[in-house]
């Protein structure tokens, strides 16, 4: 019964978290955004006291249930492990191993050290929530979007406007490689030895393990009832049941209740921790409960080539060259990020903001110091004035929540004019598209020759009013390099 509740909650959790990374309409975030905000590392980075207290209490009361019903990577590993468990050989493939405490605490120490040194990027790689997010964003999201686009085509034929098409493109090479590595390593680890990752490498698992050692409720082996069949340790994916001592290592137990299910003598029960430790050994062969896990298969379908096939060149249309990313001295990070440092310090590179960005602006950085963390570029779109999607989804506080009104006065960078690219000079055509679309009116068209009023007009930028949204850069007709582009600012400023 308790196990069934665990399974149901776990399925709900992983479905909602996956949906968060897939949804591009903002609906999922409205209802399920909190799921990301109660993730441990994001809550810690966001200094989200409410979430942290909740997780602390939860663990002190019930043990590491976080790892079983909240952490998406934990649930993902459970699914892989469960699939292996469907076979006869796989079902009882585990055995007790002593805790690899030296590895766990070293990893925790290293994590803390990385924090202190400001190298959070590397923490992001092993953060379970971010790792899961990257896998979904990289491998599942394109499939989801293709399916959506297929439906959108169909809707178009039916003259319905309910579904619209979205672009699918590889946003970052490094992220793709790291997500692929994470997927392979974790799939192998969990296939072979269940929760090995959670009990050796994952810093969140280690921290929660320190708490769960003292939790109020725990699975307890009744030594009286235990018949010593030895089934439970062989079923324990955390390998934390010591059959010789009939004891459970609560620092590693993720409260999955699998042991209770297999215990023939009903010797294991989830209850208040006895004052004097008693444990029992029992065994029993029980089938896994019926669980529909249709989503699992989808996770393994990795797509390798996601090419944005966008060039439709019809008869009557001029060819449009793709824009190229200008060489920015300082990268641009989205409004709400406060500064490049704040983003680098708090972001776990979960890709939630990147999946949520509807304007194709955010993509993971390939810079080593900010690896996989979001940065803005404007070749495909610009940071729309009405959109605050990334700031509203960020669970870590790397991008702080902002309103539309606040956004209109946050300067993330400033526009720079490159005379040689401007079509006023290259083609002698009066344009002014940058000035026409500047949402803050920071651009005015002035004669290129100050002495000659009638000379062709070029943009003049009032850097104080420019907020760096990139409308000018995106809509500039000069290609492949725009005649006006945005330089990022280290620290964002309110104008």
């Amino acid at each position: 019964m308790v196990k069934r509740i665990r399974v149901i909650l776990a399925i709900l959790a992983i479905l909602s978290l996956t949906l968060l990374f897939l949804d591009f309409t903002g609906t999922a975030h409205f209802w399920l955004g909190w799921m990301a905000k109660i993730q441990f590392l994001p809550a810690l980075l966001a200094l989200n006291v409410v979430s942290l207290l909740f997780l602390l209490l939860l663990t002190l009361l019930f043990g590491r249930v976080y790892c079983s019903i909240i952490c998406p990577l934990g649930i993902f590993q459970d699914i892989v492990s469960w699939i292996h468990g469907l076979s006869k050989r796989g079902r009882f493939r585990f055995s007790f191993t002593p805790a690899k405490s030296w590895l766990r605490y070293t990893m925790l120490g290293v994590t803390l050290l990385l924090f202190v040194l400001g190298l959070q990027t590397w923490v992001g790689i092993i953060d379970p929530y971010a790792a899961y997010g990257r896998m979904v964003a990289t491998f599942v999201s394109p499939l989801y979007r293709w399916a959506n686009n297929f439906l959108a085509d169909w809707a178009e034929k039916m003259d319905s406007y309910a579904i619209y098409s979205v672009d699918v493109w590889i946003k970052g090479g490094a992220t793709f490689v790291i997500a692929l590595l994470t997927l392979v390593v974790l799939a192998i680890l969990s296939w072979k030895s269940g929760r090995a990752y959670c009990n050796t490498i994952c810093p969140v698992g280690t921290i929660l393990g320190l708490l769960s050692k003292h939790s109020l409720f725990v699975p307890v082996i009744d030594k009286e009832k235990c018949i010593g069949c030895g089934l439970c340790p062989r079923r324990c994916k955390s390998s934390c049941i010591n059959p010789a001592e009939r004891k459970i290592d609560y620092s590693r137990c993720v409260v999955c209740m699998d042991c209770m299910e297999v215990c023939k003598g009903k010797a294991i029960s989830y209850r208040r921790r006895p004052t004097k430790a008693t444990s029992s050994e029992k065994s029993g062969e029980v089938d896994m409960g019926r669980r529909s896990m249709l989503t699992a298969s989808a996770l393994f379908i990795a797509s390798s080539s996601v090419k944005a096939a966008k060039k439709h060149v019809d008869g009557g249309l001029a060819y449009i060259e793709d824009k190229q990313i200008p060489n920015r001295q300082t990268p641009i990070v989205p409004p709400g990020a406060l500064s490049i440092n704040n983003l680098a310090l708090r972001c776990t590179a979960c890709q939630l903001c990147i999946s949520a960005c509807p304007s194709q602006v955010l993509r993971p950085s390939s810079d080593l110091s900010r690896l996989m963390k979001p940065e803005s570029s404007y070749e495909r779109g610009y940071c729309r004035p009405e959109c605050t999607r990334c700031s509203s989804v960020c669970p870590t506080g790397a991008i702080q929540p902002i309103t539309k009104e606040e956004k209109s006065s946050i300067q993330v960078g400033h526009a720079v004019f490159i005379k040689n690219n401007c079509i006023a000079f290259t083609k002698g055509v009066l344009c002014g598209n940058c000035a026409r679309h500047c949402p803050t009116g920071a651009i005015t068209m002035v004669p290129s020759d100050p002495k000659d009023e009638s000379s062709i007009k070029i943009p003049a930028i009032d850097e104080e009013r420019c907020i760096g949204c990139g409308a000018c850069e995106n809509l500039c007709p000069a290609r492949p390099f725009s005649a006006i582009y945005v330089e990022g600012h280290q620290v964002h400023k309110i104008i």
Binding site: Y164, K310, H312, L317, I320, E386, V429, C431, N433, H437
Partner: protein
């Protein structure tokens, strides 16, 4: 057979061919001659001008018998087949003569010109064309077009009047108009004058109106009136002086859009329904200008023209507007600026004779059709693709056709409070991305204007694209 014989034979054949050719020519001439007869027997062959049958109206002021179709001389043809209103090209006097001849032959007897028409060349050309016909077979209307403050002094205005007589090669004017009263003006010192002030400055302060009254008494002006645009106060003021000045006629803008929706077309204008009623009340004959609303009623969007065609497949779209204006009994004549012979012929067909519209047809035009036109300002793009390819990759026709589709289907939101705002927003934005790739949408138009010259509909493409782009931007920002 000898060589001689051969050549004789050849010659014989040639003669025969000549004969045959001549015969064909004769036959076709006689056929043309026959057509009007056919018409009388109920045939309605197009492109044929019916002989006679022009409808006339009698002026309650002077008893003039005026053709319901008046010849507007503001768009005379040029040698380069354009309109002399728009270009500097020389007026094609031959063509003017030919059209005047045809017009007179078909019963048109009212010719409306002005010292400023065709960049100041209209009176001269009309003088030449009309001089070739007896002076008593037509009425000449011209105006005191003293718009520029340089002409406000008495001497200058008088000079303008005398020059009109000279250019038109006549010693009297049948219809003399104070030109476009109600419009604002700019005084010599640069101050802006409103409609009333401009009226005072142009005709009252300098004593010109009194002068024209005396000319009327002297018979050199047979009818005195004014044409009106703009400030309604001026119109009301002038009519309030009717007892003093005895206006013989007034020229107003009347068409089925202006009847109820003049304000929607131009906020300065007043509904023709009011203007006409005011004149009818005082039994002042109305002369109608802009029966086609600047040509807009000749080129209706497809869905509107189809509605007209369904009622009468043979009638031109413009003919509905002409019949509309002519249906009102107090209308003396309806002016049409005819550049091309085809315009003249089509109008002659409409008015020879005029078949007045029924009550139902009037309502169909000035209620239903006009409302649709006002509510849905379509871009008159026909997707001819002459503007394409746009150098900057904009898909101009697709943008317009998406916009027009949303307009005709009622998916254009006026503001966020609209009942169907959410739906309209979704349909417009989703449909926009479907019909036009993002890179080819209106916000990428830089306004270089190369397309404008190519557009046979005269659409100001960059302006329209920017307007649509702004609309999209507002939809996206939800700031409509």
């Amino acid at each position: 057979m000898s060589e001689d014989n051969k050549s004789k034979n050849r010659e014989g054949r040639r003669n025969f061919l000549k004969l045959l050719g001549g015969g064909t020519l004769l036959a076709s001439t006689s056929l043309i001659g026959c057509r009007p007869n056919k018409e009388e027997h109920g045939g309605t062959h197009k492109n044929v001008v019916p002989a006679g049958g022009m409808t006339y109206r009698v002026s309650s002021s002077t008893g003039d018998k005026v053709s319901i179709l008046g010849y507007g001389c503001m768009r005379l043809p040029t040698v380069k087949n354009g309109s002399a209103r728009d270009t500097e090209d020389e007026i094609d006097q031959e063509q003017v003569n030919a059209q005047v001849d045809l017009a007179l032959a078909q019963g048109i007897n009212y010719f409306d010109t002005s010292p400023v028409y065709c960049k100041g060349r209209s009176e001269h050309a009309m003088g030449i064309a009309l001089k070739r016909h007896p002076r008593n077979t037509y009425y000449i209307a011209t105006k005191l077009s003293n718009f520029s403050s340089a002409y406000w002094p008495e001497a200058e205005s008088k000079a303008m009047y005398y020059n009109s007589l000279k250019e038109l090669q006549t010693d009297y004017i049948d219809y003399m108009l104070l030109h476009a009263i109600g419009q604002s003006g700019t005084a010599q010192d640069g101050t802006q004058l409103n409609g009333m002030e401009a009226l005072q400055a142009r005709y009252f302060d300098n004593g010109i109106l009194d002068f024209l009254m005396k000319e009327r008494e002297a018979g050199r002006i047979r009818n005195l009136g004014f044409s009106y645009h703009g400030d309604i106060k001026v119109f009301d003021y002038m009519l309030s002086m009717h007892d003093k000045y005895k206006w013989d006629f007034v020229q107003i803008q009347l068409n089925y859009v202006d009847w109820h929706y003049a304000k929607e077309v131009n906020p300065n204008n007043t509904n023709a329904e009011y203007l006409y009623a005011e004149l009818e009340k005082r039994n002042i004959p109305a002369i109608i200008m802009e029966p086609l609303l600047g040509g807009r009623l000749a080129k209706l969007p497809n869905y509107l023209s189809t509605r007209l065609k369904q009622r009468d497949p043979e009638a031109s779209v413009a003919s509905w507007a002409f019949r509309y204006a002519g249906t009102f009994p107090n209308v003396l004549t309806v002016l049409s600026g005819m550049t091309y012979m085809e315009h003249l012929q089509d109008n002659l067909r409409t008015y020879s004779p005029l078949i007045p519209l029924t009550e139902e047809e009037l309502s169909f035009l000035h209620d239903e059709t006009a409302r649709l036109m006002i509510e849905y300002p379509l871009v008159p793009c026909t997707r001819c693709q002459y503007c394409m390819p746009c150098e900057f990759g904009i898909d101009i026709p697709s943008i317009f056709s998406h916009y027009n589709k949303c307009v005709t289907e009622g998916y254009i939101a006026k503001n966020t409070q609209d009942e169907n705002y959410r739906k309209a927003r979704q349909v417009f934005l989703v449909g926009y991305d479907r019909s036009v790739p993002k890179l080819r949408q209106a916000d990428h138009c830089i306004g270089c204007g190369q397309c404008t010259f190519a557009c046979p509909q005269g659409i100001k493409i960059p302006e329209e694209l920017h307007r649509i782009g702004d609309y999209v931007e507002k939809l996206k920002r939800e700031s409509l």
